[in-house]
């Protein structure tokens, strides 16, 4: 009884003091390979925010194929922020769930993409199949691992990079580019739902000769499983991937977390966060930080999503139901 009384009194006295420090919990719904990145970012941001405001922030992470994650948010998953693989997935949330305004990309610098990445090849050590460029992927006996573009953002970047190379090789002949991509997916025996699953297929299950991978995922595989097991091959042409971020307005307003959620995303552009981004093998936007880590990232020729008319058009043409991917994959 005495203990209860003391505890009650202590709580009563502590309450007015603690009223000045708030505690927040955010949910970051992200795409597949960013687990390690956001684990590091979240720790740094929580410390930074605590130092600046006195408030405590804990951030939960959810990862999966970017398309699947967007679908989960549309279906009601209460994400405070979404950090997905491509703008089309956040556009889909804005369009279908109406929880994000359509101008979401204008609210943060660089089209709300705090870092970029690209697509490279991860091959087995010594590159036994001599895979050097996109054309080598459809040679007889070559087995390619890539996720499913219907569920994975990374897979859509893979597809578009391959398509861009084929267009260039064939003087922008769409039919020939489609024929190439059709042949490419004939060489892909397993379509995982996300990029991390594809990495597991290639690295841990030992399937395939080449993994079409996010650059960061390829480097991470070297770090984790040993540079003596895999090599990274940089193709002659790839695509500039711009994974974007956004606050989910309806959720943060309901939960009262807008201030801290916006601070979280703005933090991604700080020097400290850009440094973490580079260390995790994503290409930082900040020129100074990019220069600092320039030797980590190979230089390559990049097309952009603008070359496909933007994400809305690319999504509709290639990945929507009945689009090019459906036609070529079903035909296989």
């Amino acid at each position: 009884m005495l203990k209860k009384l003391i505890a009650t009194l202590a709580l009563g006295l502590a309450a007015p003091l603690s009223a000045y420090a708030a505690s927040y919990q955010l949910l970051n719904v992200s795409y597949d390979p960013t687990r390690e990145l956001y684990k590091a970012i979240n720790t740094a941001f929580a410390a930074d925010y605590k130092a600046k405001t006195g408030d405590t922030v804990s951030i939960q992470q959810s990862h999966g194929g970017s398309g699947k994650q967007a679908r989960a948010v549309i279906d009601g998953l209460d994400a405070d922020v979404v950090t997905l693989a491509l703008a089309a997935d956040i556009d889909a949330i804005a369009k279908n769930a109406k929880t994000i305004p359509e101008n979401w990309q204008s609210r943060l610098p660089d089209n709300a993409s705090p870092y970029t990445s690209t697509i490279v090849f991860l091959v087995r050590k010594g590159n036994p199949k001599q895979i050097k460029d996109w054309g080598d992927l459809i040679k007889p006996g070559v087995s390619v691992v890539t996720p499913n573009p219907k569920t994975s953002g990374g897979a859509r970047w893979n597809y578009l990079a391959a398509y861009a190379w084929a267009l260039k090789q064939n003087n922008k002949d769409d039919a020939k580019a489609q024929a190439y991509v059709k042949e490419l997916y004939k060489h892909a025996p397993v379509l995982d739902t996300g990029a991390r699953g594809a990495t597991t297929t290639f690295v841990q299950r030992g399937i395939g000769d080449v993994l079409l991978a996010w650059e960061n995922e390829a480097f991470l595989s070297l770090d984790e499983f040993g540079a003596d097991k895999f090599d990274i091959v940089v193709p002659s042409l790839s695509i500039l991937a711009e994974p974007p971020v956004s606050v989910v307005d309806k959720v943060v307003d309901k939960k009262g977390t807008r201030k801290v959620a916006e601070a979280y995303l703005k933090y991604l552009y700080t020097d400290a966060a850009q440094d973490i981004i580079a260390k995790n093998y994503y290409r930082p936007r900040n020129p100074a930080i990019a220069a600092k880590y320039a030797d980590k990232f190979p230089k390559l020729n990049l097309v952009t999503i603008a070359d496909f008319g933007g994400w809305t058009k690319a999504q509709q043409t290639h990945f929507a139901d009945g689009g090019v991917f459906d036609k070529i994959y079903l035909a296989n």
Binding site: S143, P189, V190, T193, T201, R205, G206, I207
Partner: protein, 459 residues
């Protein structure tokens, strides 16, 4: 199936493939790749199936009924049911057919129940009854569940007054409820606010209804003479030790009541008739002829009540006082009549099952599984006492008894889940209620000696 198992399962395929291509065919490395690909495809299919299973609705079937529930649990459809096939046999010979008009076999209740939970806040229930010649609807109501402490219910449902009446029909100790039920309302049309307070230890309900006659259902939009204009009902019931295991954990007590007014119409009170355990009417007002009885003013009911359950033993005790203002159609005499009823019902499971207000659907040792099912002894004593001022002006002493006392004992057998078979005997004695010789002489109505049984399926 584990990865190892997949590997073994796929080996024959690989072997056959290897044989077929032996002359020109794939190398061991290629075969190894094929196996790995198949394994990974199976792994992905399993992951996909698991993910889909998480989002899929679940179907459940058990002794509490059948249900389909959405993955998040906020949408649910439940199907439950109650079948009661009864036999009533009057042992004594009697001169009046009306004394034993309900002798024989009957379907007492045939009630499928459909319940839908729509989101976290909406609930809908409909319970028709196909036992009568013309099907009726027992319960039909919707609920807006704002909070466990604030649930708004609208439709037709049991008025929150009499303890045994609020017990599920499949859970009562005897085939018929006792005398307090005759003085209280049954189901009625209305709206009610209710909920649970203090960690679920106290429940309350406050409602407004059309007004139901004693022991009967209310009518829709009742406006005929003699019906209540509106009736307020309320009940509070507490189980203060519910969450504290111990001697008093199963103790619950409370009080229910109603208050309403009746219009003074031009017809007599014909819808009020108090019944014996054999469902024979032993009291009614004079409702026809040159001088008959009409409602006139208020009617209120107050019912203190309690139960106690401890291990295999249970006891339900309740009292009700019913006050109703009546008048003769000529206006020559008016009065406020106070009728009273009380009862105690005890039950005890010989086979060790826990007794509860919610009843039993699963015996510990069902028949055929090293057991004989559950056996329950039940006993009742009850009295219904009509206000002496009722006679002779408002009711005939030679046609209606002024008091009925009953005791009953029985054995309930639950051989398997969801089945109950019972056999009971009741003896009901009356004060007055019959004519002697000459016919103006009041004598006691003949005792009702009743053997009754039931075959009940309840889930």
């Amino acid at each position: 199936m584990s990865k190892r198992h997949y590997t073994w399962a796929l080996l024959p395929i690989a072997a056959i493939a290897g044989q077929a291509f032996a002359e020109q065919g794939p190398s061991l490395e290629q075969l190894d790749q094929r196996i790995k690909i198949l394994e990974r495809q199976l792994e992905n299919q399993k992951e996909e199936a698991d993910a889909k299973a998480k989002d899929a609705a679940t179907v459940a079937a058990g002794s509490n009924g059948f249900s389909i529930k959405s993955a998040k649990g906020d949408y649910e459809f439940k199907f439950r049911g109650l079948l009661q096939a009864d036999g009533r046999f009057f042992l004594s010979d009697g001169p009046a057919a009306s004394v034993r008009s309900n002798d024989g076999f009957l379907l007492r209740r045939v009630e499928p129940t459909f319940e839908l939970t729509l989101g976290k806040q909406l609930f809908f229930r409909i319970q028709p009854n196909f036992a009568p010649d013309s099907a009726t609807v027992s319960d039909v109501y919707g609920e807006l569940r704002l909070d466990p402490a604030a649930v708004i219910r609208a439709g037709k449902f049991k008025v929150p007054v009499v303890l045994e009446n609020l017990q599920a029909s499949g859970a009562t100790a005897f085939n018929e409820r006792g005398f307090p039920n005759e003085l209280g309302p049954n189901r009625d049309y209305g709206v009610q606010l209710g909920g649970a307070l203090f960690g679920g230890t106290t429940s309350y309900a406050l409602g407004i209804f059309n007004g139901a006659s004693d022991g009967r259902d209310g009518a829709q939009q009742a406006k005929t003479a003699g019906d209540n204009r509106k009736e307020f009902a309320g009940r509070v019931f507490s189980e203060p030790f519910k969450n504290e295991p111990g001697l008093l954990q199963g103790l619950g007590f409370g009080v229910g009541g109603t208050y309403g007014t009746r219009e003074r119409g031009t017809v007599g009170i014909s819808d009020l008739a108090y019944r014996t355990p054999g469902q024979n009417t032993f009291f009614s007002y004079v409702s026809s002829g040159s001088v008959f009885t009409q409602s006139h003013g208020y009617e209120y009911r107050v019912s203190p009540q309690a139960y106690y359950y401890r291990n295999s033993f249970g006891l339900v005790a309740e009292y009700i006082e019913n006050a109703q203002q009546v008048i003769t159609n000529t206006g020559s005499k008016a009065d406020t009549l106070h009728h009273k009823a009380y009862q105690g019902v005890a039950n005890y499971f010989l086979t060790g099952e826990d007794a509860s207000y919610g009843g039993l659907t699963k015996p510990k040792n069902p028949l055929g599984k090293d057991g004989y099912g559950a056996f329950e002894l039940v006993a009742r004593y009850g009295v219904l006492d009509i206000d002496d001022k009722t006679f002779p002006t408002f009711a005939s002493a030679t046609a209606s008894a002024s008091k009925a006392s009953t005791w009953a004992a029985g054995l309930n057998w639950y051989p398997v889940n969801n089945l109950k078979i019972d056999l009971a005997y009741s003896l009901t004695r009356f004060d007055g209620g019959a004519a002697g010789t000459p016919s103006t002489v009041v004598v006691d109505r003949q005792d009702e000696k009743l053997v009754y049984s039931r075959f009940q399926i309840w889930f």
